[in-house]
């Protein structure tokens, strides 16, 4: 089977159930709203959860994208926008997954604890190709800063992405592309 035939198309939030049913190693194209958050935004969100402060977006059924964009050039909705290394967010991830995050988009393997947390919380881990940032940025239709403006590129942005290419990395049956190298 070639790649185009097995690529799943997921529209958010309607396609969340289908997303949860996909197997590790499946390429998919995502259309819908996601929120960017990376190191400092994670630190602030987890502190807010501990201290009862407000969160920049509703965590239940949301999709978080570990990314910090380049500024959008004039006339473009976004600049370059690829994934950053997920494992740096490992210390903060379980606390967010427990609040009902549906999926996370990043790159690279996670700790065993975080891997278990995805399964326990019913969340899936998706990966985009690190460094394919101009290509991935061209699939962003709108980008709006919604929290932590003082963090600049590390602020939280609401993105509307269209046909955004990712691969299911950790599915809900324990499948893991990093453990077995995928379905060869």
């Amino acid at each position: 089977m070639n790649e185009k035939e097995r690529t799943a198309r997921i529209d958010l939030p309607r396609g969340l159930e289908e997303l949860r049913s996909l197997e590790a190693g499946t390429p998919l194209l995502i259309t819908g709203t996601v929120f960017t958050a990376r190191d400092q935004a994670h630190l602030r969100m987890v502190r807010a959860l501990e201290e009862g402060g407000g969160l920049p977006f509703e965590l239940r059924d949301c999709v978080i994208y570990y990314a910090g964009p380049t500024p959008a050039p004039p006339g473009k909705p976004a600049g370059s926008l690829g994934p950053t290394t997920s494992s740096r967010m490992d210390p903060f991830t379980p606390a967010l997954l427990k609040r009902g995050v549906a999926a996370v988009i990043g790159k690279g393997p996670r700790s065993l604890e975080v891997r278990r947390s995805f399964l326990q919380c019913g969340a899936v881990y998706l990966v985009a190709v690190g460094g394919a940032a101009a290509l991935l940025g061209s699939r962003v239709r709108s980008m709006e800063m919604v929290a932590y403006p003082d963090l600049g590129a590390e602020a939280v942005y609401r993105l509307f992405i269209e046909d955004f290419p990712v691969v299911m990395a950790y599915d809900l049956r324990g499948g893991d592309i990093y453990a077995d190298g995928g379905d060869v």
Partner: protein, 281 residues
């Protein structure tokens, strides 16, 4: 004596910074296209297709190749009769800041590492490395932006001076296999061997400047580079860590004179977006 003006230095840095950010060098692009042609693993091929398509999008749209537009390494090699401007660091910084605005690069540099971490907003200060060469009248300038993810994959170990070549190979391979999945493979591996703890790390980074696909210039070390590369690529980690035969494009080693009690070993890893531009001035 040949005098270089601050304005000329600034302008050269600005141009090289912009070009390095949006257009990958020909040697790296050729290595990535070769990898795509040869890769048979389903997901490894999927990743390489996007990596190569990304280069085309970036060049066409004049967008940064990666959203992590990096921390800027600037290497200045100057001949014995070349007089650099008095405030070379300031001229270089003005060039980097101008390129950051012009090419819509991400501001990724903080002025303080721990207590404040305030973003400088302009990607300065650049990391300036000066080296005097023997070539009369020559000034060569190289700009190499390097992303933070692959920089986190760096390493320094002080081996015993009696360690055999096999141990050096083993330590490099073990380290690269642990770090490569998160460092945007296929990576290029720079290895510094010898010197002291500080110069060894810089040699590892300088090794990334050698064009990918060119033979090792140090007699006897080429076979060690090949041995490391083959072991890394046997791992099956593959492009984007998604599987396949292309975890690294090359291993480049620089050996340095060292102390009788020392054998420093450093590794600098570049992601597949190995960005660099050089020009004579």
């Amino acid at each position: 004596m040949r005098r270089i003006s601050a304005a000329d230095l600034e302008e050269a840095v600005r141009q090289l910074t912009v070009e390095a950010s949006v257009d990958l060098p020909a040697d790296v692009e050729a290595a990535l296209r070769d990898a795509l042609r040869a890769e048979e693993h389903r997901l490894g091929k999927y990743a390489l297709e996007q990596i190569v398509e990304n280069l085309e999008v970036a060049r066409r749209e004049r967008l940064p190749v990666c959203q992590d537009t990096g921390y800027f390494n600037v290497f200045l090699e100057f001949g014995p009769d070349v007089l650099l401007p008095e405030k070379a660091q300031e001229a270089v910084d003005r060039g980097v800041a101008a390129a950051t605005r012009e090419a819509f690069l991400r501001a990724s540099v903080v002025s303080d590492p721990l207590l404040r971490r305030r973003n400088t907003g302009t990607n300065i200060p650049a990391q300036l490395h000066l080296e005097q060469t023997g070539e009369e009248g020559a000034l060569r300038l190289t700009v190499m932006p390097k992303g933070g993810g692959s920089e986190n994959a760096g390493m320094l170990r002080m081996l015993l001076p009696t360690a055999p070549p096999g141990e050096v190979v083993e330590q490099v391979v073990e380290h690269v296999l642990a770090k490569a999945p998160s460092a945007c493979p296929p990576v290029v591996v720079g290895v510094g061997l010898g010197g002291s703890a500080d110069t060894c790390v810089l040699a590892a980074k300088r090794a990334l400047l050698r064009p990918v696909g060119t033979p090792c210039p140090y007699p006897g070390y080429g076979s060690l580079e090949s041995e490391m590369l083959e072991a890394i690529n046997r791992s099956g980690i593959g492009a984007a860590g998604m599987g396949g035969a292309h975890t690294a494009l090359a291993v480049h080693l620089i050996p340095l004179p060292t102390h009788i009690a020392n054998l420093p070993l450093a590794v600098a890893i570049s992601c597949h977006a190995l960005r660099r531009r050089a020009a004579g001035l």
